[in-house]
Subunit: 242 residues, 6 copies
């Protein structure tokens, strides 16, 4: 039976949503029914915890409205905003592209490096890697020093910058490079050619992992960190928000 | 000059707001002008990441409305929901009762234990302690196995339960016990008497630390993790939310 | 185009090879051509580093003989014997069921527990988890206290023992349980039903991950830990061994 | 009721004692009775474990003579010499400026850097940070390459050097800079202006934290690391030393 | 040429000094000239940081008086009081029995357990193991619940208690047991027989390691943590102390 | 009674075996009967996990043939190939030069640096240090960028390169430098003279530690990680291999 997957771009940039759609079209299995969407409000790009908080709210509201129709969700922003909340309230797999890409990188090499947009992303990503417990596998976090929206405006310039910081990452021991921003989706191949090292497009790997989990009925554990909140609590709030 | 402090109970329980007010009244310096308040929507108690996400949104909105009038903010829920977002958007000290109580506990003893409400709080708190980097100082997390709202309903029973798990914590090496839920505020003294060990009421210590920081012009660093988001982004959203 | 995968049971137990075959038959994609095999010499079960060393040698020899015909390899023994050597000498993905199951468990819950055969497996697995850098996600390692070959002899008894230690693991914070021995393959479902928590059959997850990687051309990084040894060195030895 | 605080400069430099006094005069609450003093023997500056051992002895002797008259003690040397001994033998709060400044820095930013005097201070401080368990919050330790006593001789030159290494610290991710030597007290403001980042004068923050703890009856835990030694043992030795 | 070694019992118990002498007599190489001694003042047993501070002072004074005549020093108290100071001021090897026994235990098994005297020794030893960076090799710390001086009074009872807690340590994964108190010297053999697991007498292993280092001219590094303090500083203080 | 020690050079380079012999001749005690040998097949140098796997097999076979005649074994390749297997099957001490040199370095300074041959050795050694749990004592790993066999071909050039990277290691905080390749044996003295810092020849320290352990009957723990495999299993395989 065809499975339905929801890919959420948690920001409100239509362009980035389109890019994510393009990436997924290239890799999705023919018998998967995939919807790529975004919340109806929130920042156009997510570059701070403030942005993350708004996006988390938007994602929760979106999932409360349409979530029942799906068999799995991919949160497609590096930083996994609202991920733990969504894992709690859904009874099917919810995956973040950050957690998925880091987990998979550990199979592909001893150490990963994250290539990120702005300088502020460096401590934010380090905070996330510490929270996830992957410190000993992290080689470095390399910012290209531009904002997320600028990345998409001049893709050629962005790839050049990513190539430059990618070379630095390799020197610091990065064996696998991860594009640490959904706005970089689609740039992986040129980088792999130039740098001669695996580059992970986290939208791609996040999606593939979700597809694998949904097809094979892999559950999220509901007895610990992601235990479902009291059902009454959830429905009461749903009304309040709408 | 009198300083104005805002203490936010991030849930919507009027009773818990009142209890926090009581604790602060007992310790506040006479020349501090303190307002204890709560968001106008959100869960009555915060026991999941879902609750945290809603509360974070509520707190941000509250601070965007009234924040300009204050010199410092205390986020008064163990779990520090929305804390990093508020640190970013305010240009004065914003403190969470979890981060403050853990930091201060390191002065008072080698190892701290957290006494928490439900079983689900155990992995949630462990996740937070890992994110903050205090793993090597944590002795244990001890749940009393009741929901946050039940704690306040029967305070006597709650203290008895806290005393029982506190004894377990001491056996596991806890030298300082922290009440890991704002709903436990006001219960510290009986526990200290019974257990013969320092018990931290995080509302109290969080408030005292905020007072000290505001009086002495201690800033939050704005060059790294808590760098201010783009101002235009913030104002645009303010309109959208209201 | 059909891809060819090699699943190696690194011990010489025909029964275990058959069980692995059964598990993979149930999940493999129709257009994958999968061979399940084992080395022509070595211990019947792998329960010590001594066993691992012999198995590693056997696996290398096997891959040197038949490896050229394949697009991916799964090493199907918990402990990943010889895995790093095989990652080095192959130019396509080689995955171990231990590394794969642990990486995937981090998506499914905060903490995993390993259910293992003998008491000796406890320090062996802890050593491996430390080497891989996943200490902070490990809840516990629980031995059932029987040898690997006994597990298969009385499957009903084994499941009962696994259920008992699984309950202990849950109490210690294990949110996802991993069957830490390929000899336990096929026992997952009964345990999930009894314990109400996700149980990972590492043969299954390792295979699914390999399939995903091979289908989508995910490479292993060849610039760091798994850099290919000097080609001359390899061929010289091939002669020597045969 | 007025509380009496003892601030110990553990070395025997009268000049440094005076500087500490100056810093404290600027921040102390009017109703606190503060004495700044130093031991009657020991090194003029503390730059080795040898110096620390002598200073620890001097501080203990000092506290055994005059300690009964006080309600709290601040050990005012970065390195906290003798701190754990004094925590044991006093029944009121004893704080070190190193432990206090590091704990408070965690509220002000994700990562701190220490600016220290000599190159030898680098491994000494790293050893201390490891012992305290704050490794994951440490960005870097930056030596200015001069001895402690030289720092005070030419304050202008010292500030210039601190500014230079402070810039390096910021580049390595330091969000909060800590002056890692009591001899640098009073130099914070110029550095903050130049570098645009919070700089902690540990004498100031250590004192403020002590004041807060004493005013609010915050105890040190006496059941674990700082358990009081056998009383008979202490008095016997007192005689022996004098 | 005969080498001269100094073994310092840092407390002032003549009985313990004699026991240490006995242990060393049984193992020392015939061509080593070994003196076992103790400071002329200080506590009879070292069970707190206060005791350590006094002992450190006593040991420094002792070494300043007689140190020039020796080629190596063993500090023979578990806790290594004053060790770093002595490493700094001597130009030959100085070893502590704690650091030596832990380092050697890593060759003998994956995990060590410490058997200690009082409950207070538990956090003290944990603090030391953290400072030394051996946390991941520590299985447990097991107190027998008696004071150091009592250990020697009734050796038979002490061995029985050590045997009981040793069994607990083994259950927690301790593969090598270390007698975490110099007062337990000479009790190793009975324990090994009873428990069937290697038991380290740290006086013995510390001495053997010192002998090996002195015979083979192994130096202590003087460029980092143990860099020699300014010579003038040392001589000035020598006068002051005497 | 004279003890018999076996030193295994796990590769098949006769030249390296000779160099190891030379080093040991200079330090061995007159009443030790030492045999330096190598397996009868395998790579001439060990620079990958593939090499390690072959060497491990060769070492096991060697020990199964001649091991009964000895009282202790030193595995003399940095990387400790096959070490855990040999620890399991022998009932006397088996030591690796990597584990021994790192353990001893912790006595000689706070931080060690490894000087290694090729760039690939960097992640391999880091993996080993993580597995052993010594991360917090590691300052850096410095490759000279040549293959193992080249090291011996031009010793003068190798020493010059080691001196250059040694200086870098010192700048990064390395207090003790370890020659991270048995092919560098005999080069320590020139480096110590040039760099003014202790340099460990791991063949030397590994041998000295083994001698000390064998003379003093120090056992390897057989209850945990190194528990002896089932005897029947071992003998069956012995036949199979020969």
């Amino acid at each position: 039976m065809t499975k339905k997957l929801l890919v959420i771009n948690p920001n409100t940039s239509a362009e980035m949503t389109k890019d994510i759609q393009t990436t997924i079209n290239q890799i999705k299995d023919f018998d998967m029914d995939v919807t790529v969407t975004m919340p109806d409000f929130g920042p156009q790009s997510l570059e701070s915890f403030y942005d993350y908080s708004l996006a988390a709210f938007g994602c929760i509201r979106l999932v409360q409205k349409v979530g029942e129709d799906y068999d799995g969700i991919l949160v497609s922003c590096y930083g996994d905003p609202g991920l733990f909340s969504l894992k709690e309230i859904c009874d099917y797999p919810v995956i973040g592209i950050a957690e998925a890409s880091i987990a998979l990188s550990t199979i592909m090499g001893q150490k990963f490096s994250l290539l990120v947009a702005s300088h502020k992303a460096v401590p934010m990503m380090e905070d996330m890697v510490n929270q996830y417990g992957f410190q000993s596998r992290l080689a470095s976090i390399e910012p290209i020093g531009v904002s997320v929206l600028e990345i998409e405006k001049d893709k050629k310039a962005s790839i050049a910058k990513l190539s430059a910081v990618g070379a630095k990452a390799i020197e610091k021991g990065g064996e696998v490079l991860i594009l640490g921003c959904a706005g970089m989706t689609g740039m992986k191949e040129e980088l792999e050619t130039e740098l001669g090292v695996p580059v992970i497009d986290p939208v791609e790997y996040g999606y593939l992992l979700l597809e694998m989990m949904v097809k094979n009925h892999c559950p999220i554990s509901k007895i610990g960190l992601y235990k479902q909140p009291d059902q009454k609590k959830i429905s009461k709030l749903e009304i309040l928000i709408n």
